[in-house]
């Protein structure tokens, strides 16, 4: 986009007083179009608050600007000498209290409704990792499905080498899929630092706190693709861990569950068999790109000192068992995550094999999924 056209894009704002309530997607001036009951309540509560504030604002500053214009010394205004008035002072203390009570009432009802996570149709655990989300379907249709969901926008788009797509920075490789109209309870937690699972169209934002589980819920009324972000600063790639939810019909959801479960069983078979070195390196390169390259970089050089290089690293070129432990358990006090919780055995075996045979590292050793199982 050219500079001039972007400035031009801002200008219509001033003609768009009604644009504040515009309904088009994606939203630019107001809260996103709500698709749950809670989000709808928040949307109208915000509109109401805005109107009340605007009225008070106009009243107060109407008085002030009247003074500014009419009570000027240059216009011959002579100062009065009053400096208190008990009745007026009581009035402007009591009236705001009444207005606040009027605001608090609907807000209280919504707070209580937001907290009612009872009787869900489906329960999903969302785990924040640096810097992706993990989803576990714990209960209800689809129980047992688990996968990771990370940014799918190519690096070249971020760096400006390619044209940016429509869902730039808001697209993931494996979106969360839920059926329309069903009550979904989300258990939010995190593995390393605090993250926050935010879906604006659902009116849901819940921090994921490492070591604790907090819950929230939504029931989306409309099929569609909804996008959000991690909303709590969580380190380097905080801006690059979006959330994408597909709300689909009951039938489509059942189909999706079937295909996901088929994937899970083939993954179990992968974990059980012996692999050839070339196969592992091949798979490991993909796993590395998705999970490791953000810190250790695609060329294995890392970003020292926070993110050490793997190329030539004594750990990667040393004893296999020690490296398996680091990858499985992470390193506490650093950004190195415990991938044992996130990835299947075959992926971990593959990625370790890859790092031991990539760049300048030439161990020639293959690490089998069975060794990962032993290391757990």
């Amino acid at each position: 986009m050219g500079f001039a056209s972007r400035i031009a894009g801002v200008l219509p704002l001033f003609g768009y007083v009604s644009g504040v309530f515009a309904q088009d997607v994606p939203s630019r001036y107001n809260l996103q179009q709500p698709v749950t009951r809670i989000a709808t309540e928040i949307y109208s509560m915000h509109t109401l608050m805005l109107i009340i504030c605007l009225v008070i604002f106009i009243a107060v500053f109407g008085v002030m600007f009247w003074s500014v214009i009419h009570h000027r010394k240059s216009r011959g205004a002579v100062a009065a000498n009053f400096h208190e008035n008990t009745a007026v002072e009581i009035a402007w203390t009591v009236v705001p209290v009444l207005i606040l009570l009027g605001m608090a009432w609907p807000a209280t009802k919504t707070v209580i409704a937001m907290k009612d996570t009872s009787n869900p149709d489906i329960t999903i655990k969302a785990t924040g990792y640096q810097w992706k989300w993990g989803y576990d379907y714990l209960q209800g249709e689809g129980e047992g499905i688990r996968f990771l969901s990370g940014l799918s926008t190519p690096r070249a788009q971020i760096k400006g080498a390619e044209q940016k797509g429509d869902a730039y920075l808001l697209e993931v490789d494996n979106p969360l899929v839920v059926p329309v109209g069903k009550k979904i309870r989300v258990l939010v937690t995190a593995a390393d630092v605090i993250h926050s699972w935010w879906m604006p169209a659902f009116g849901v934002k819940q921090d994921g706190i490492p070591g604790f589980i907090r819950d929230t819920w939504f029931a989306a009324d409309k099929e569609g693709v909804y996008r959000g972000n991690c909303a709590e600063l969580c380190g380097k790639d905080h801006g690059f861990m979006p959330i994408e939810v597909h709300v689909v019909s009951a039938e489509k959801y059942a189909e999706w569950v079937k295909s996901k479960q088929a994937q899970t069983s083939s993954a179990a078979a992968d974990d059980g068999r012996e692999w050839a070195l070339a196969e592992l390196v091949d798979r490991g390169e993909k796993v590395f790109a998705a999970n490791c390259a953000a810190c250790h970089q695609a060329d294995g050089k890392g970003l020292p000192p926070a993110f050490p290089p793997l190329d030539g690293s004594p750990v990667v070129n040393g004893d296999k068992a020690a490296q398996i432990q680091v990858v499985l358990k992470g390193r506490s006090g650093t950004a190195m995550a415990a991938f044992g919780e996130q990835l299947p055995d075959a992926d971990i075996a593959a990625v370790i094999t890859y790092t031991r045979n990539a760049w300048g590292n030439k161990t020639g050793e293959a690490v089998q999924p069975a060794e990962i199982v032993a290391g757990r």
Binding site: S27, R28, L50, R72, A79, E84, G211, R214, G239
Partner: protein, 532 residues
């Protein structure tokens, strides 16, 4: 006290008092409240410019989607350090500078109560600033955990984090000493006849602020010390695996953090309450209710901290309590705004530079007040938490609030400090440029936040591009406008229209009874106030 002063006057002719060390040593060893006030103000302006450069780098990166100027890790360092530098380096020391200069002059005291401690509390700041700014150059760079330094992210950081922790400790010690000094000065050194309810409102707001500082700075010191021991000494205050709780950090931090917000705004209320009556040529409306409102804001500020944490998932009862308590703060704050407007009502107004800033303050700060009320509503806040809406909100209260009031105060008292009237044209140019660019920068951020742009991100989705470009242009305009202030001050120091003792027509108060510029020593004999 008075007896001591009289002895000294008896021993020497008055003019010989200024004879101490000269040159650099004068500033290093000074115990004079005016010298120390000046040093605080210069220090805070330097920090203001440093923090401003960081802000402009942030805005340059955000000018368009994609990564162009800085990498994400460094971007996070910039947002973190911008916050820490502006809060602890610029805004807070600037208000202490005003307190040092003006409180003794306003209450008719010869100096601050603990003059030597006053020197020490200033000279702690430059080392703290060097630790903080120097942390950019250590391996791993400065802390990138956000100015709130939330655990466990802050536990992951490199040694820049340790430097920041020590800097915060030192600045905290400095603030506490400064606050004790202000409390003791105000309570013990008022001129005969100046009872508490005749004190200028600026002194009242600072008295209450000083109590807030004494109450909460140790809490912050405790919080960052716990991070330090979690980082290096194997404790688990904020680590669930060791029995700790990351959310506890937030509770402790915001128990400091919310009163801190009022530490940065109450003295601003005080400055504005001095200026509005002067240029309205009419006494402040509702003096007593202003004092009570300030005190209630301060007390309430201890009961609202968890409104920064609505998304952590506290029980409904907790959310409701903190929501109601927060909404309640709107009442005394409203009283203040109404009182200022009522002071202007049927006054005889003129708009010299200080009045322009003060009026601008009321207008724009109130917008920040309204968005604060909207954020107080827990369900709405759950949508707005950690978005650009919050960024807009706190810049409306901290820039249009605290900073604009600081400028108002600077233009108001510059004649007393320098002996020259500030140039009206330059002052007004500074005001109008700041006002316009401020709103170009921060108003669109409300829209960005509502539409779903999270804060603290170096890159964003395409629908946010237009408003970000606008905000970046505004930010550069705003940043450059601040150089006008530098010109105004330098010009005012070097010359200009001679200022009378009472430099502004409607100005009242003891500070306007001493010559301009205020001599090195003032009120060696306590003034006697007429009975009312």
């Amino acid at each position: 006290m008075t007896a001591l002063t009289h002895d000294r006057i008896g021993a020497h002719p008055p003019h010989e008092h200024a004879h101490g060390p000269t040159g650099l040593m004068r500033w290093v060893t000074t115990t004079n409240h005016k010298d120390i006030g000046t040093m605080y103000l210069i220090f805070s302006f330097i920090m203001f410019l440093s923090g401003g450069v960081m802000a402009l780098t942030i805005r340059a990166e955000l000018f368009k989607p994609g990564l162009q100027v800085v990498e994400p890790e460094f971007f996070n360092q910039l947002t973190t350090m911008h916050g820490l530098v502006m809060v602890f380096g610029a805004i807070m020391p600037a208000f202490v500078g005003f307190a040092n200069w003006m409180i003794p002059l306003m209450i008719g005291a010869s100096d601050m109560a603990f003059a030597r401690m006053n020197n020490w509390s200033f000279w702690l700041l430059p080392p703290a600033a060097i630790l903080l700014l120097g942390s950019f150059f250590v391996p791993g760079g400065a802390t990138a955990a956000g100015w709130t330094l939330y655990a466990p992210l802050s536990v992951q950081m490199g040694m820049g984090m340790d430097l920041a922790i020590f800097a915060i400790h030192i600045m905290g010690v400095s603030s506490i000493m400064g606050a004790i000094n202000i409390v003791v000065t105000i309570l013990n050194m008022r001129a005969p006849g100046m009872n508490m309810m005749r004190m200028p409102l600026f002194c009242w707001t600072w008295l209450i602020t000083a109590y807030l500082l004494i109450a909460v700075m140790p809490v912050l010191a405790g919080a960052v010390t716990m991070i330090l021991t979690d980082r290096h000494f194997g404790t688990s205050f904020f680590n669930a695996a060791g029995g700790g709780d990351p959310v506890m950090y937030q509770h402790i931090f915001w128990f400091f953090g919310h009163p801190e917000v009022y530490i940065m705004i109450l003295p601003a209320f005080g400055i504005v309450s001095q200026i509005i009556p002067t240029f309205s040529r009419k006494p402040l409306f509702g003096y007593a209710s202003m004092v009570y409102a300030t005190a209630s804001i301060a007390i309430l500020s201890f009961t609202v901290w968890a409104h920064h944490m609505f998304t952590t998932g506290m029980p409904a009862v907790g959310q409701l309590f903190f929501m109601y308590a927060t909404m309640l703060i709107a009442v005394p704050t409203g009283v203040k705004v109404f009182n200022w407007v009522a002071t202007m009502w049927r006054g005889s107004l003129s708009f010299e530079t200080p009045m322009l800033w003060a009026t601008g303050f009321i207008f724009v700060f109130t917008m920040g007040g309204f968005t604060g009320l909207i954020c107080a509503i827990a369900p709405i806040d759950i949508q707005l938490q950690d978005t650009y809406y919050v960024v807009a909100h706190f810049h409306y209260v901290l820039v249009a609030g605290s900073l604009f009031a600081l400028f108002a105060g600077a233009y108001y008292w510059l004649p007393k400090w320098t002996g020259h009237m500030p140039n009206e044209f330059i002052g007004k140019l500074h005001f109008w440029c700041s006002m316009v660019f401020f709103n170009i920068t921060f108003f669109p951020m409300h829209f960005l936040g509502l539409a779903g742009m999270p804060r603290r991100i170096p890159d964003y989705a395409l629908q946010f591009a237009d408003f970000n470009a606008m905000a970046s242009i505004g930010a550069f305009g705003f940043g450059l406008s601040q150089l006008i202030f530098l010109v105004a001050v330098v010009k005012c120091i070097r010359g200009g229209k001679q200022a009378a003792a009472q430099s502004w027509e409607g100005a009242e108060g003891l500070e306007w009874t001493v010559p301009s510029p205020a001599p090195h020593h003032t009120f060696e004999d306590a003034p006697v106030l007429a009975r009312t």
